[in-house]
């Protein structure tokens, strides 16, 4: 641990604590806590959503994957960027117009049943915990490497920081931490990319020529990691459709006042992510060429430290310390958003609405939200401490798979399908969730004949790393069958009346514009 690293590290911690202190003064109601009072501007929310996209898995993981596997790593970049369009075209605006704090709020606007809320909230909690374990384990390993701190202390530091932001500053602090981190990350990545390009005389052709000649043409086409079409198609489906089903992304649409601002948010996010993920090529190939495969692999088998190592080559200790601090900020920001989302499912959906029947006072809601945040943080920290030696990075792709298979079908049906009913909604969510978990648990991330390569030793029963190609259609089919098989038992007239209301609200935003201003 050197002086410069500690300086950058403390600067990030100090800046985010100041933000939290200012945000805390503005956080008094449940709406402030969960959605920053719906008062974020388009560009602010756009940067914050970009911050959610650009997790440590995206920044460290993708640049490392490109360094190790060439084009196979770039598949992720394409997936994350195109995912913006799904959000923009079919999800963002109706979501804003129908929801309040959570995904379950949006679904129960149409089906006012506790079982719907319960299933949606459970799905949210599972996604949040899977995602968070992956981030925390990655954070512990990264901080250990950058600062030489023990793993368990590193996890505790991140855990205490994320809890502090959320507990005191709610969504306002979480959003600003995301905005700061997204700006720093964009700057840091841009700087690294320019420095790499300068080494190739600012010629893209020269960079590709060097990679082809010195490292092999296999880096320029897929095949080092992904050898089968079906495996990569399945993973790409999970990426593009899963983003629209991730609860911490969906929750971001409630932080703006109307559909127009939700649209502007995604427009900002699209530009930011398109720029960032284009730059991952330079980070990945730069690390491959200047740091070298042997050194990247020596530090981390998954290549997670390729970007900091590249920074060290290009700018010495100072640049490496800066990039390390940015990576640290990235992790903090993403886990804070996850804590808040988990808290909304536990405290608002399960405690406030299901157990207390929505009869909590404003003050009780805020107390519940804070208690929920602490609980979800503690559970995740404990799980992360136990998961230290497991390879958990695949849990992120699991979360995408569940988002795409359990949440996306039910969201689309709720907004766009007139005949959809609550049994269909429950079947879609349960089928999507359970099939992802079961097929995932039988897959090559959990089972491998090579000892140490996965959690258990043995042959995987399901050959797909990400089972999305099976589970997404299952989620849609279950929603369809659940609906048509029970359609005779549902009072049609009442259901139609509610759908008429949903349709008007989703398409005109009439209720939202009345509520906020």
């Amino acid at each position: 641990m050197n002086f410069v690293s500690v300086g950058f590290f403390l600067a990030i911690v100090g800046l985010t604590l100041i933000v939290t202190y200012i945000a805390a003064k503005r956080t008094s109601s449940a709406a402030d806590f969960y959605t920053a009072g719906g008062g974020l501007k388009g560009w602010q929310n756009g940067f914050a959503i970009a911050g959610d996209y650009l997790s440590a898995a995206a920044f460290l993981g993708v640049s490392g994957a490109i360094a190790l596997t060439g084009f196979d790593g770039f598949f992720f970049s394409v997936g994350y960027v195109v995912a913006n369009l799904v959000l923009l075209y079919v999800i963002a605006e109706p979501m804003r117009n129908l929801g309040r704090y959570t995904l379950a709020d949006m679904l129960t606007a149409r089906f006012n049943e506790k079982r719907i809320r319960g299933v949606a909230a459970s799905g949210t909690i599972i996604i949040v915990i899977l995602y968070m374990i992956a981030q925390l384990v990655g954070a512990g390993a990264l901080i250990k490497l950058l600062f030489g701190i023990e793993y368990w202390i590193a996890v505790l530091i991140v855990g205490v920081m994320m809890t502090t932001y959320v507990l005191f500053g709610g969504m306002t602090a979480t959003s600003w931490v995301q905005i700061i981190k997204a700006s720093l990350l964009l700057f840091g990545t841009g700087l690294l990319a320019v420095l790499v390009l300068a080494k190739f005389d600012f010629s893209l052709m020269k960079m590709f020529d060097t990679i082809a000649v010195d490292h092999g043409e296999e880096f320029l086409v897929p095949g080092i990691k992904y050898t089968s079409t079906i495996d990569s198609v399945s993973m790409m489906m999970a990426l593009v459709l899963g983003t629209s089903g991730l609860p911490h992304i969906l929750m971001r649409f409630f932080t703006v006042k109307d559909a127009k601002t939700a649209r502007a948010s995604i427009s900002w996010t699209t530009w930011i992510t398109a720029i960032f993920f284009s730059l991952t090529i330079f980070l990945g190939f730069g690390a491959l060429n200047f740091v070298g495969l042997d050194q990247i692999l020596a530090e981390s088998k998954a290549g997670n430290t390729a970007a900091p190592l590249l920074a060290h080559y290009l700018g010495g200790d100072v640049l490496m310390a800066f990039i390390g601090a940015v990576a640290f900020a990235t992790i903090l920001a993403v886990v804070s958003g996850l804590v808040l989302t988990g808290a909304s499912a536990i405290s608002h959906d399960i405690y406030g609405e299901i157990i207390k029947g929505g009869k909590l006072t404003e003050k009780q809601q805020v107390v519940a939200a804070r208690t929920g945040s602490i609980s979800i943080a503690i559970v995740s920290i404990i799980l992360a401490l136990f998961a230290q030696n497991l390879n958990v990075s695949f849990l992120v792709s699991f979360a995408f798979c569940i988002g795409a298979s359990a949440n996306l079908p039910v969201i689309l049906y709720t907004i766009y399908w007139k005949k959809f009913n609550s049994t269909g909604a429950v079947s879609a969510m349960v089928t999507g969730l359970v099939s992802c978990l079961i097929l995932g648990a039988m897959g090559p991330n959990v089972w491998s004949p090579v000892e140490g390569a996965a959690i258990f030793v043995g042959n995987p029963l399901v050959p797909l790393a990400v089972p999305a190609i099976i589970t997404i259609p299952l989620g849609f089919i279950a929603g369809y069958l659940g609906t048509v098989l029970t359609s005779s038992k549902v009072p049609q007239e009442e259901a139609e009346r509610i759908y008429q209301e949903i349709r008007v609200k989703a398409n005109t935003g009439v209720s939202v514009s009345d509520v906020s201003h």
Binding site: V78, V82, L220, S228, S232, M236, R497, Q500, V510
Partner: protein
């Protein structure tokens, strides 16, 4: 609380009257046709990448050592930016159509 009174206000809107209006239905139909046809198009173009990426067509070199997969991916990035811009433009016209529907509803005597 501000929320309670405004929720009452929102409830006083007759959603069923709006939903029965012809202008509303033709607007929603037009909008959904646009949204879903574009969505189907970009999803197909997108999923072709991992399919064609393993075929000779995208594995061959296009410019110098830059192979087809990179060019196609760059195309998808550009497509994303272009479709995002088109959506924002188009959505402004949908906003106007929605406002016109609401104006018609209010003119008919809704609150």
């Amino acid at each position: 609380m501000a929320n309670v009174s405004s929720e009452k206000q929102a409830q006083s809107i007759d959603y069923h009257a709006i939903e029965a209006m012809e202008s509303f239905n033709s607007f929603v139909k037009k909008k959904n046709t646009f949204l879903f046809s574009i969505t189907a198009m970009f999803l197909i173009l997108y999923i072709l990448l991992p399919i064609l990426a393993f075929q000779p067509v995208l594995q061959q070199k296009f410019f110098g050592n830059i192979t087809g997969v990179w060019v196609y991916s760059a195309g998808l990035f550009i497509m994303t930016i272009v479709l995002c811009t088109i959506y924002v433009k188009k959505a402004a016209s949908f906003d106007q159509a929605a406002a016109a529907v609401l104006a018609e509803y209010h003119a008919k005597g809704g609150k």
